[in-house]
């Protein structure tokens, strides 16, 4: 507490048990934050409150909102945004970037393998159970060579900084990772509100995501296509991520389609335009596997395209991400990532994995049941932070309930030690003060044919509730602009 003489931080409570991103243990401000700290210090908290509400209404007017469905009416909400940015210095970023690429590539090779020869299972590195009991493993993908050999074109890797100051991966999201549009909106909002601060730092731009994405998607066009026609497919405007879908289509300069805009004829995909049918070659799909094609998967899907999978199997269209990538998104696969990286790339993992206990293994199950109060229990096939139980936050009866659930279907759960996510000063509406809040970082990696791209920024997600460790927006999380510095 000692060194803080800054007006805006005068009431900042620092818990020394937590890793604070901007203060050292003894309370001195970290070097990269020094200038920012001083610049923000020139403002009073009242100034900040004003800027904050301006930023909010700017999000509203830009329509960067998501729908929340209530009992009576649907409400539009903005994704809470914090005006105090997170800074990542070049050396740290290099680790994150290299680590993200390494993981994405390893996951891609893993996917190719498990949908072809399955050598990693034959060699006993991962158990067969990982695919045979995974709901996300698609038998139909067996033997299909996706165009360009890429499955996980877009990966969202969630990393955290632990107490020890090292980065750990919490999750690999390779189904339809979302959030990239917020990275860009956050930057825009911060520039509008506090443009002056950008003069003092050399920060990488984040607006080049769309062009890189399109470039890499076009590199995995189907065979025989000269100039590919790419589209983004969305479940529709009522989807909570619709803003992002439209943003991506707009910035890539491609059509944003719904299932009903497409049809399949002779195993080629077409969209219905005002000038008649137009062939589609690459589909960046933001709908889940099971809804892609009602003739092949869930027959009651009204958002898919009948016959799409046949067109894909015949190699006439690229789907990004490929169907069936969800199997590697499984939290049980996560636990094998160090071995998977070593097996395919012959490298040591650059980013750490959090140690994970498999409830499917009897000895580990026993450990989990005995130490549940110091573990985080996660269902293996849920996204969005749903179904997570944090052992030391549970009441006695809740613990018993969770134990019963694990025992009933052990394959469904994994457990990890409770990681202490680093904290970052975050402006809190209720108290009108800066407080410590836990943060993580979602990075966005795009794989193309023989090239890759990592967005130099990523989405810093903040758990806005005090002490909360779950940062997902569906669980009341917010976000911050994230600066990757070009030099220190």
């Amino acid at each position: 507490m000692t060194n803080i003489e800054n007006k805006i931080f005068s009431a900042y409570q620092r818990d020394s048990a937590l890793y604070d991103e901007i203060f050292d243990e003894d309370g001195t401000i970290k070097q990269v934050y020094q200038k920012l700290f001083n610049l923000y210090g020139e403002h009073t908290i009242e100034d900040y409150v004003k800027l904050n509400s301006k930023a909010k209404s700017s999000f509203f007017n830009q329509g960067i909102t998501f729908q929340v469905y209530g009992d009576k009416e649907t409400k539009e909400k903005i994704f809470p945004f914090d005006l105090f940015p997170r800074i990542i210095d070049p050396e740290e970023w290099e680790v994150i970037e290299k680590g993200s690429i390494q993981r994405s590539k390893a996951l891609n090779l893993f996917l190719w393998d498990i949908y072809h020869d399955k050598n990693i299972i034959r060699d006993g590195i991962v158990p067969m159970d990982l695919i045979s009991s995974s709901v996300n493993y698609l038998d139909q993908m067996n033997g299909i060579d996706p165009p360009g050999g890429i499955y996980n074109h877009i990966s969202g890797i969630d990393v955290i900084k632990h107490k020890d100051g090292k980065y750990y991966v919490l999750e690999d999201n390779i189904r339809c990772p979302s959030g990239v549009s917020y990275v860009i909106c956050n930057r825009t909002a911060l520039k509008r509100a506090l443009f002056g601060v950008f003069n003092h730092y050399q920060t990488y731009s984040v607006t080049n995501y769309a062009e890189n994405l399109l470039d890499l998607l076009e590199s995995v066009k189907p065979k025989g296509v000269d100039i590919p026609n790419c589209v983004v497919i969305t479940p529709g405007m009522y989807n909570s991520a619709f803003y992002e879908h439209s943003y991506l289509a707009k910035t890539m300069g491609v059509e944003l389609v719904e299932g009903r805009d497409l049809f399949v004829e002779n195993d080629f995909v077409y969209m219905k335009t005002i000038k008649g049918p137009e062939k589609v070659d690459i589909i960046y799909r933001r709908i889940d596997d099971q809804f892609l094609d009602p003739l092949e998967f869930k027959s009651d899907s009204a958002i898919g395209v009948p016959g799409l999978f046949a067109a894909y199997k015949k190699g006439n269209v690229t789907l990004a991400n490929a169907p069936g990538t969800g199997v590697a998104d499984d939290k049980a696969v996560y636990t094998y990532m160090p071995q998977i990286i070593k097996y395919y790339l012959g490298e040591e993992p650059i980013l750490n994995n959090v140690h994970t206990y498999h409830c499917s293994r009897p000895d580990e199950l026993k450990y989990v049941l005995e130490h549940i109060h110091e573990l985080v229990i996660k269902p293996v096939d849920e996204a969005g932070g749903y179904g997570i139980s944090i052992g030391n936050r549970l009441t006695k009866s809740e613990i018993e309930l969770v134990k019963a659930q694990i025992k009933a279907s052990p394959r469904k759960y994994v457990a990890q030690p409770i990681m202490s996510l680093s904290v970052h000063p975050t402006y809190i509406d209720e108290t009108e003060e800066f407080e410590q809040r836990h943060v993580d970082l979602r990075t966005f990696t795009v794989l193309g044919k023989d090239k890759e791209f990592v967005l130099k920024g990523g989405l810093t997600r903040v758990a806005l509730k005090k002490g909360n460790l779950i940062v997902n927006s569906s669980q009341g999380g917010g976000s911050k602009d994230t600066w990757v510095l070009k030099n220190k």
Binding site: F60, L256, I274
Partner: protein, 315 residues
């Protein structure tokens, strides 16, 4: 461009235009009635009935006393009446939402602001003393939207489709307003020697179409039934006239349909035909049977709309 999205753009244009006409109709009728020269035109009931007639929901019971607050609420900000201004703006925005990747950020932000303005407008203030402020804001905001449409979009098929929507709707609304005011002029003639052809309602009609000043400049005389109808229907230089709207529709359909071949089944052919029929009409022909003329025009417009839908928006 996707057929579905084209449909969205078309309707976005229509809903923007429609909300403007309804707002101005409320404003002009209400405020010009306050100092109208005859008693009937001054009557609150007369004005409220005219408003209901214009939005297509006429009050059929002659004896019923309409409450001003109810009527204003219903037409202005009621989420439950399909023709209310708030619903039109909501639909304009929904259509903009699904075509969001095609329109400019500037246009989208303006529509979005417009929507939030109406959504947050206090409805009790509106029905008590906010009518002027509310409707003025709406007409100004739609002007901003038209400015953004013209100034921030590439003049390509996206623009052409929005303009088609705007002009189709304009022709429709103007004819509906003519219909409503013609009806009012018929009803308000009588006791004070106020002849139909010199009715005060013609002035109101011109103001409803924001054409009063233009008309005065052109004819330099007090508006009569003939001069008003001639101006609003046939004058190609009046931006609000039916003639001008159809000329615009024809111009923009040509952007979508660039074929020069003779095709009697195309939308462009039908529009051209309707346009030419009006172009070579004179006002005496129209005036002697205005009711039939209005019905024919509405029928023609809906045929054009249907054909357009089948040719371009079918998905």
């Amino acid at each position: 461009m996707l057929a579905r999205v084209a449909n969205n753009l078309f309707w976005m244009g229509r809903y923007i235009e429609r909300s403007e006409h309804i707002a101005r109709y409320l404003n002009v009728n209400y405020f010009s009635s306050l100092d109208a020269p005859n008693q009937l035109s001054q009557s609150r009931q007369f004005v409220l009935r005219s408003m209901c007639f214009m939005v297509g929901d006429p009050e059929l019971d002659d004896d019923k006393i309409l409450l001003e607050e109810n009527v204003l609420y219903k037409i202005g900000v009621d989420h439950n009446t399909p023709y209310s201004i708030i619903n039109n703006v909501k639909l304009a925005r929904e259509n903009a939402n699904s075509a969001r990747d095609l329109i400019s950020t500037e246009l989208y932000e303006a529509i979005n602001k417009f929507y939030h303005f109406i959504l947050n407008y206090d409805s009790t203030v509106f029905v008590k003393n906010g009518l002027h402020d509310f409707t003025l804001n709406i007409t100004e905001m739609t002007d901003i939207l038209r400015g953004k449409i013209r100034g921030t979009l590439l003049h390509d098929p996206v623009y052409a489709i929005i303009m088609l929507g705007i002009n189709m709707e304009r022709a429709t609304q103007i004819i509906r307003i003519i219909n409503a005011k013609y009806n009012d002029a018929l009803n308000s003639q009588g006791s004070y020697g106020d002849k139909f052809s010199k009715s005060f309602e013609w002035t109101t009609l011109l103001k409803c179409a924001e054409s009063y000043d233009m008309m005065r400049r052109y004819y330099k005389k007090t508006p009569t039934s003939v001069s008003t109808l001639e101006f609003l229907i046939l004058n190609p230089n009046c931006p609000r006239s039916i003639m001008n709207s159809l000329n615009q529709v024809y111009r923009h359909i040509k952007v979508l349909d660039s074929t020069t071949n003779y095709n009697k089944n195309s939308t462009a052919f039908l529009i051209g035909k309707v346009r030419s029929e009006i172009q070579f009409k004179h006002i005496e022909e129209i005036e002697c049977n205005i009711q039939t003329f209005i019905e024919n025009i509405l029928q023609n417009l809906s045929e054009i709309s249907l054909k357009m839908e089948n040719e371009f928006f079918n998905y």
